[in-house]
């Protein structure tokens, strides 16, 4: 065989054997686009993802087990660390569940305070998304703008609760009403500090402004559109099948919002629209969140007009004991439905606490939606689902 022939043979052999085995690519656990410590084991064929398997659990802190040996008051301090981007919002469903179990109801003013703080938490969570999502797509400027504005929201939360991220402000039967429980000195009331409403409405004006700014910076940006429009489409039936909730579900055209459909707190007394978009792609998921900031601003504006004065705390026994029974309570977290299933055997601590954390359920769609996508789109799709790893692993 001449060398020429040999070359010819090997070339044809190559063209036959072009079916190369898939490469396994490990993304994470420490990768900036994974929002923490999520590991993705992807089988890739060139730039295309054939299959992806999320590996979770790097941040498992065992909240469900911890809760079995903690009193209800102590669990409240723990649960706002599940989703730390919106700490207050994960306290609310837990405390509502315990209240349902014990048959107490918080006074009106406490309910309104909870509503205002939940919406502030929603704005701050969405602002984090609005800042980090363009960052993942390569735009650093929106980060500066929206994190700057988030600081005003966090200041408001801190002013009322004393904590920026971990408010620990909900109590069974109301909100934290006094600093100390002592009787030797005058109790320090924890009602809203003076000027809070004024500062809140000023901050809400800022939020309107930043929404417009983000519209200019991100929504109308052609590069962002190129990366997100038509990418990672989740059809409504698939979204329901995988149990998505929150903005991810509403971006697929299902206008389902627990604040409307299973109203809790005083959401039935305020007017707001459930934002939904028909497309189901990354761009729509981003737009839904941006519009929800505007809706939250609307809710807070109404709430500070409507909030009545009155007590912050209903009468509850000093030692909290829930009667035997079980309850599932849920609320609309910024990221979707957040639920607690509390089983009580009648003691000071729950017998079992099951947490339906939003991000975990939203993450289940990853293997399906990433199949056949390009690797650069992986970042765009994953970012648009807006999960927090603490919320996934609990």
């Amino acid at each position: 065989m001449t060398s020429r022939e040999m070359m010819h043979r090997s070339e044809s052999a190559v063209s036959i054997e072009l079916q190369t085995p898939d490469m396994t690519l490990n993304i994470g656990p420490q990768h900036p686009s994974t929002h923490g410590v999520l590991r993705l084991v992807a089988k890739v064929d060139g730039e295309r993802i054939r299959e992806v398997e999320p590996v979770i659990g790097y941040m498992h802190r065992g909240y469900e087990k911890l809760a079995e040996v903690r009193t209800y008051a102590q669990i409240t301090a723990l649960v706002n660390r599940i989703d730390w981007v919106s700490g207050f919002a994960s306290e609310v469903p837990f405390i509502l569940g315990v209240e349902k179990l014990m048959g107490v109801e918080a006074p009106e003013r406490a309910q309104w305070i909870r509503l205002i703080l939940s919406e502030l938490a929603r704005i701050s969570s969405h602002l984090v998304f609005i800042s980090s999502y363009p960052l993942e797509l390569g735009a650093t400027t929106p980060l500066m703008h929206s994190l700057r504005e988030r600081e005003y929201i966090l200041e408001l939360i801190e002013e009322v609760t004393g904590g920026r991220f971990h408010p620990n402000f909900n109590r069974v039967g109301g909100v934290k009403s006094a600093y100390g429980g002592g009787s030797t000195t005058k109790k320090q009331s924890m009602d809203l500090p003076a000027g809070f409403f004024k500062r809140t409405s000023e901050a809400m004006d800022r939020m309107d402004k930043i929404c417009d700014d983000i519209d200019t910076l991100v929504t109308g940006n052609e590069l962002i559109k190129m990366r997100t429009v038509g990418v990672g489409i989740i059809p409504p039936d698939k979204a329901l099948e995988f149990g998505l909730s929150g903005p991810n579900l509403r971006a697929s055209g299902v206008a389902y919002d627990l604040r409307k459909s299973d109203s809790y707190l005083t959401y039935d007394q305020v007017e707001f629209d459930v934002v939904s978009r028909p497309g189901g792609d990354c761009y729509d998921r981003y737009l839904v969140r941006l519009h929800e900031v505007r809706e939250s601003v609307k809710i807070i504006r109404q709430a500070i007009d409507m909030i009545p004065s009155g007590p912050l705390q209903a009468k509850v026994p000093r030692v909290l004991k829930a009667p035997k029974g079980h309850v599932y309570s849920r609320a609309e977290n910024p990221k979707g439905e957040f639920g607690y299933y509390i089983v009580s055997e009648g003691g000071k601590m729950p017998y079992r606490l099951k947490i339906r954390s939003t991000s975990f359920s939203n993450l289940t769609i990853l293997p399906w939606i990433l199949k056949g996508q390009l690797i650069p789109d992986l970042v765009a799709i994953m970012g648009s689902l807006d999960f927090v790893l603490g919320d996934v692993d609990r």
Partner: protein, 156 residues
Amino acid sequence: MSKSINFPFPGLFRGMGLTLKTMVKRAPVTMYPEVQEVPVPRARGVISLDVDNCTVCMLCARECPDWCIYIEGHKEEKGETKPGARMRTKNLLDRFDIDYGLCMYCGICVEVCPFDALFWTPEYEYSEPRVADLLHNKEKLTEWLATVPENPALES
């Protein structure tokens, strides 16, 4: 997938215009070490202890969710009120440590203390190079007492 690209990206330039406008504005930043950041009065910075009020009831240590309060005390006889009556005793605090390396700033201890011995103060400058030094003892916790702020005025 090919997408229509309408050069020269008007949206991009509108965004850059906003960036330019922001560039000439003053940034709302506190230049921390030179300028002190003043936290709100309710901020949960550090816990201070009023030793005179504490009766060594251990409630705070028991209710703390991560058991980071260490208390030891002893009883001291105060003498009898009448001859033959039961000896009156007083609990005295020997050790009161809070491990700030472990504390999660939940505020449960401050809330459950029935004798108003614990207070929040918004001080925050107590970081240490060694995590073990974050254990504040009785004397250190008492020092913080001077920084307890007045309760802010309330909204009606």
